[in-house]
Amino acid sequence: MDQLKIDFDKVIEGLKLSDENISFRKKNFNQFVENGFPNKRVEDWKFSDLNQIISSNIENLHFHSNFAPSKIDEAIFIDKFAHNKIVYLNGTISNVDFNHEDDTKVLVTRDLSKNENFKEVNPLVSLNNALTASYIRVTVKENYSSNKPLIIYNITTKDLKSTALNLKTDIVLEKNSSLKVINLFDDNSENNFINIVQNFDIAQDSTLKNYKIDHKINSNIKYCYNNINLEKNSISENFILSTGSKFIKNEINCNLNDEYSSAFINGILNLTKSQHHEIKTNINHLAENTKSYQLIKSVLNDSAKGIYQGKIYVDSKAQKTNGYQLSKALLLNENTEFDGKPELEIYADDVKCSHGATSGNLDEDAIFYLMSRGLSHQQSKELLINGFLLDAVEKITDEEIKILIKKMIGITE
């Protein structure tokens, strides 16, 4: 913790901040210091003891780094796929490019004082509030649909070690607007802690599609907190491909604030070795006629651990809610573990809510069937696993991005 205090002072010194902002950061800093990294005694973290995970994977964690941003390897950018870019390189925003958009309709600010709009919902968000040096807000103006997707690249290079990065993105969709976002991790570093807080304010009649891809195998520890506010008749579609990091917890807090808003959260955990990934959702139905759908598919190999905690809260005002969640897991090895914790908290009486969970092994009879047609055991297994994952991928409504993600996970058509 001494290191933390020294690093905090360095961060404050390095940024030109207003007094208000400094006191906001100090308040958040103290909040984190009081609580520390969450451990398994905290209910939300009972399946993932982050304190223990960090101490056993990262030696001498630093909270401040003064890397001169190295040059970006352009090969990292997705080819033959027109897109806008925000590039975080080792935690610093190094490139912002909205060339495909009308610059009076998509506005970008990096004013650090806006950071103060973020509430202190948990110690990790407080840590982010206290330390972040890279904040960006993208506002899509009323009645504007962005032409091309925005890819937020999160790149780390191999010289980054034992460092905590705190990144923050704030996306605002004004009325009747739309945006597609891909959060793409490209980690070439080892043993860092990456703490990402993202906020999405989606105004009436607007649509946000947000695809998160953590696919490259790496030894970093990650926490991603998404807060989503949905207004009347707006849509939030989320897809999480969670296969790359040593540990990652994706937490989504989604507020359906007004009528006819809907939220979709679909995801894949595809894990090997000792990977440990969690998806945690809080869907808050706060108005009538709101909808939420969640489908999480997990494939666990070796001694991997997968967790899905999905909570649906229905306020007494939120009549005619539709809330649905389903989790299916394939456990390919007896050393794997899957923990599912569905929670329904319902205070309205005219609602349709359901949850379901299954877990099991591959169907041996199906393997026999495929092998009897000349496929090897490995081919049969891969075909069945891809088939198992496919219905989560098929939920992606953007065809171009769906094809991109299918390619990444090796589903061919």
């Binding site: 169907d363 009897s372 047609r373 000349g374 075909l383 069945l384 088939g387 994952l389 219905d391 058509e413």
Partner: protein, 244 residues
Amino acid sequence: MLQIKDLKAKIDNKEILKGLNLEIKPGEVHAIMGPNGSGKSTLSNVLSGKKGYTVSGNVTYLNENLLDLEIEERAHKGIFLAFQYPLEIPGVNTNIFLKTSLNAIKKAKGEKELDAIEFLKLVKQKAAELKFDEKILSRQLNVGFSGGEKKKNEILQMSILNPKLSILDETDSGLDIDALKIVSEGVNALRSKESSFLIITHYQRLLEYIKPDFVHVLINGKIVKSGGSELALELESKGYESLS
């Protein structure tokens, strides 16, 4: 082509096949009939290599010890089992599965694999022969198929893979008379001097359409009687009781 000598098979310590002998020569069609629980499906499972059985005895297929071969190696060497209950495989496109299967077998034989266009041409032709709606092939493998569609899909796979020894495990069950005719025509079209068939069935009905050279009666894990196609008719009128 296939010689089975004193074949015994156990599952969960229960002996199902108790010393079965059978020889099938190239070009022959053999039918095995028998009551429920006589070991018919076990025989087809053991011949195609399903795990879980303790097997003894000798099975020689094209001069090789069949029991030493893995499931997929048997398929590569021309053994095909048309399943009694074809599995539903969610998320796997039927066409992709067919192409993967055909090319796996071609590769193992050292033949040139088919590209997408060549494959589609072949599938179109075979599907038309079996009056099988091609649209079904873009769906997930057997998922939501009717009983008849599943069985036709088995015969379609058989005709695409062009096996040397085809084992049909109660392919007639669950088929209406029209589907039965189409399936039988599909099988008859594949009959040749080089290809052999082992047809497992409860009823004589299928054998009206696919005329066997030999009929065997399997009761309690052993073949108790063999004869020509007339034996099937005899069984139909007298039942299995008379033989047990």
